[in-house]
Symmetry: C2
Subunit: 386 residues, 2 copies
C-alpha cells in the first residue's frame, strides 16, 4: 500500500490536514465579502509575522521568485546600483534577477556556507554607495541564517535600502521588519507557514514605495500599485484572479500557526533543528555551514567518504519514501539537506533519522542502529526539563 512521500525538504513543507481540507473546499469567489475577509485575515496575520505596523503587505499568485522579481521591477531602473553579498544559491538568484532587470550589481563573494560579515558590507558601502542591499535571510542552499539585523543596520547607516528574501525564514526564525529598518521583505506560503506553494507576499516600507515612483523597469502582473489599489477596496481583492484555493489553505495554515503563537513556533523550529543536528553527529556525520545554533530551517549535512550525497537522498527516497533535498551548485553530491520547519513534529524527525540510519547502513557506512534516534530523543527530553 503506497503512502504519500514524507517531505523533509526545505519547502514545500508538509501540509496539515486542516489546510488540505480548506484548499479542497469549494472556492470562495474572488470578488466580494467572502474573499475579502480571507484577504483581510491573511494580510493582518502576515503583518504580525513580519512584525510591522507601518508596512503594506501585498499577496500575489506566484512562487517566492515572482515576489522577488516584483521587488526588483517595482523599485529600480536600469543602471541603478545594488550590492548583493553572495554566499549561496538563493543569493545568486537574487543577483541574477537584478542583472536581468539591468541593475548594476556589486557583489561580495563568500564561500557557500559562510555567514556574511556586516563590517565587510559596511566597508563596501563606504567605498561605493548603492541604492539598495539585497539579502537572503535563510540561505536554503546552505542552511545558514544570515545576520539580517546587523546587515540592515550598516545598510541603513550608508543610506541604502534593505531588501530581504525571507521566503524560507519568515515564521521560522526571528525577523523584525520595523525594528530592523527593512524596506522590502518577500515571503512565500509553502515554508514555515505550511500552506501549499502558489502565494508570495511582500512587505513594503514608505521608502520602497517612494522608490517605485521613479522606477522605470516594466511591470504589469507584479505591479505593486495595482495590487495596492485592489487591496484597499472595502472588500480587499487581487487585481488578477488569484490562486483562491491556496489562499483558503493559507488562511487555515495561519490560524494553526497562531494557535500557539509565534514564540512557540520558533522554539519548536529551534528544538527540531537541534535534534536533526545531534542525530547526524551521532552517526559520525559532519554538519555544514556557519552559525549552526541559529539555523532553524534546514540543516546541510556532509556525506561521509563512503557515499555521494545524491546517492543518500536518492536512496532514502526510493527505500523509505522520505524526501530530503540534494546539494545545489558547488555542494552537489557533497551535502544533503533536511528541512525541519513548518508542520513537522518530533516524531516526524525521528522517522526521518531512522530512515537515514538504515539508508547509511545499506550504503556501507558504519551505523550504530538507533544512535541518531537516541540523540534526537535526548534533545526532546531535555526540552521538557523545567
Amino acid at each position: 500500500m503506497d503512502r504519500p512521500e514524507i517531505i523533509l525538504a526545505p519547502g514545500p513543507t508538509p501540509i496539515p490536514p486542516q489546510v488540505l481540507l480548506a484548499q479542497g473546499s469549494p472556492l470562495v469567489y474572488h470578488r466580494g465579502p467572502g474573499f475579502g475577509s480571507i484577504m483581510r485575515e491573511v494580510t493582518e496575520r502576515l503583518r504580525l509575522l513580519y512584525r510591522t505596523e507601518t508596512a503594506d503587505v501585498l499577496v500575489m499568485t506566484s512562487s517566492g521568485t515572482g515576489g522577488l522579481e516584483s521587488a526588483i521591477s517595482n523599485c529600480f531602473s536600469p543602471g541603478d546600483e545594488v550590492l548583493v553579498p553572495v554566499a549561496g544559491f538563493f543569493a545568486e538568484r537574487f543577483k541574477a534577477l537584478a542583472e536581468t532587470f539591468g541593475l548594476t550589481v556589486l557583489t561580495i563573494d563568500y564561500e557557500w556556507g559562510e555567514r556574511i560579515r556586516p563590517d565587510e558590507v559596511a566597508a563596501a558601502l563606504a567605498e561605493h554607495p548603492v541604492k539598495a542591499v539585497l539579502l537572503t535571510q535563510s540561505e536554503t542552499s546552505t542552511g545558514v541564517i544570515q545576520p539580517i539585523e546587523r546587515l540592515a543596520k550598516v545598510a541603513n547607516e550608508a543610506g541604502a535600502m534593505v531588501m530581504v528574501d525571507v521566503v524560507s525564514s519568515l515564521g521560522a526564525v526571528p525577523f523584525e521588519f520595523d525594528a530592523w529598518g527593512i524596506d522590502v521583505a518577500v515571503g512565500g506560503s509553502q515554508k514555515a507557514l505550511s500552506a501549499s506553494p502558489g502565494i508570495a507576499f511582500v512587505a513594503i516600507s514608505d521608502r520602497a514605495w517612494r522608490a517605485t515612483h521613479e522606477a522605470t523597469n516594466p511591470r504589469f502582473y507584479f505591479d505593486w500599485a495595482t495590487y495596492k489599489r485592489f487591496a484597499d477596496l472595502p472588500d480587499p481583492e487581487n487585481p488578477w484572479t488569484p490562486a483562491i484555493s491556496v489562499m483558503q489553505g493559507l488562511q487555515a495554515a495561519l490560524e494553526l500557526y497562531f494557535q500557539h503563537g509565534v514564540d512557540a513556533a520558533m522554539a519548536r523550529h529551534r528544538m527540531l533543528s537541534r535534534a536533526v543536528k545531534e542525530g547526524a553527529k551521532a552517526l559520525g556525520l559532519d554538519l555544514f555551514g556557519e552559525g549552526l545554533d541559529d539555523n532553524w530551517t534546514v540543516t546541510a549535512i556532509r556525506s561521509p567518504e563512503s557515499a555521494d550525497a545524491d546517492t543518500i537522498s536518492d536512496t532514502i527516497r526510493a527505500e523509505h519514501g522520505c524526501v530530503l533535498a540534494p546539494g545545489q551548485g558547488p555542494l552537489k553530491g557533497k551535502v544533503f539537506r533536511i528541512g525541519h520547519f513548518g508542520y513537522v513534529s518530533e516524531l516526524d524527525i525521528i522517522r526521518g533519522l531512522a530512515a537515514l540510519e538504515m539508508t547509511l547502513e545499506s550504503l556501507g557506512h558504519p551505523v550504530k542502529r538507533g544512535a541518531a534516534v537516541a540523540a534526537a530523543e535526548t534533545v526532546f527530553m531535555e526540552s521538557r526539563t523545567p
Copy 2:
C-alpha cells in the same frame, strides 16, 4: 445553514468534487517522478486541447494575465510594433500590457460587443505592417467570440505573428493552434477546464521561439527558455516551486474533461449557452453583443429599464447565493453576465434562471414565473431529439 455560493460567473467556474479532492490531497513533491508524471499528463492533454503537434506548451504559476505578460516580455523589445483590435476589457488589458513593455501599439477600436472584422485588420496591416497582432478569442467582458481563424489568416498573410488570449475560451469553443497558424496562445486553469485558478499555460510556435532570441524586454520569473529547460528534464519540472495543489487539481480536471472528449464539452457549452439566451429572452430581456450563436462561454444580458444591472447581480447574490458577473467598463450597470462553461450542468442553469426570475420580480420587473426555466427546458429537450 449557509451553503457555498453558486458560481455562474465566467471564471473561476465551479470545481468538480474530484478536483477538490485532488487539490486537497497531500502534496506531490515538485522534483521527481511523481510530479514529473503530472507535468507530462497535463502538458500532453493541453496540447490536445490546443490542437497542436508542433508547439511547446509550458505551465506557470500565475493568473492568465501573467501568461499574457510572458508573451509580451519574451517576444518583444521596446519599440516593436503590434496591432491590437480592441472591442472589450480584455483586449484593453492586452494593449496595456504591450504598452507597459514599451511596444508601439496600433489599435483598431470597435464598440464593445462588436466582432472584429478581418478585412479591416487586413487593411490596417497593408497600410502599416507590424510584428504581431494581439487577439482575444473570448472577450469575456462582452461574451463575444472573435473570429480568430480568419483574423489569424489575414495576419499571417501580412507576415505578422498571431498571439491569442484563449484564457476563457480554450476547451470551451473550437481552437486550432496548428491549422490556424497561431504563434502564441495563453490559457488558464480556472475556466472551461474547471480547475482552480493559479496555473497559466502557453503554447509557443517555432516562429515565436525565434522572436524570443532577439527580444530584449526583461523577464526572469516568466522566462520561457528557463521553463523549457526544466520541462525537458526526464522528470519534467517547473523552474520555481509551482502551485503543486492546483496542478494536482488540473490533472484531475483534465481527466474529467477528456472522459467524454472535446466534442462533447463543446456541444454542452453550446447547449447551455442557448438555454441561458432563450431563458433571458423569455423574460423579455435583450442580449448583448454580436455573433450570439457562436458565443458559448458567457452571455451578457442587458438590464431592463426598471433595474440597474449591478442591482440585479448584487440582489441575486444576496438573496439566492448566485454569483453572476457585473458589467465592466462602459457596460457597468448596463449588462450582467452569466457564465455557462466548465463544470456546469443543465440543472445548474435552471437554478440560475429561477433565481433570476425571482430576483427580477422582486425588483419590480414583470416576470411570468417559470418562463425562463421553461425556455431552457425546451432547449434541453430539443437537444435530446435524434
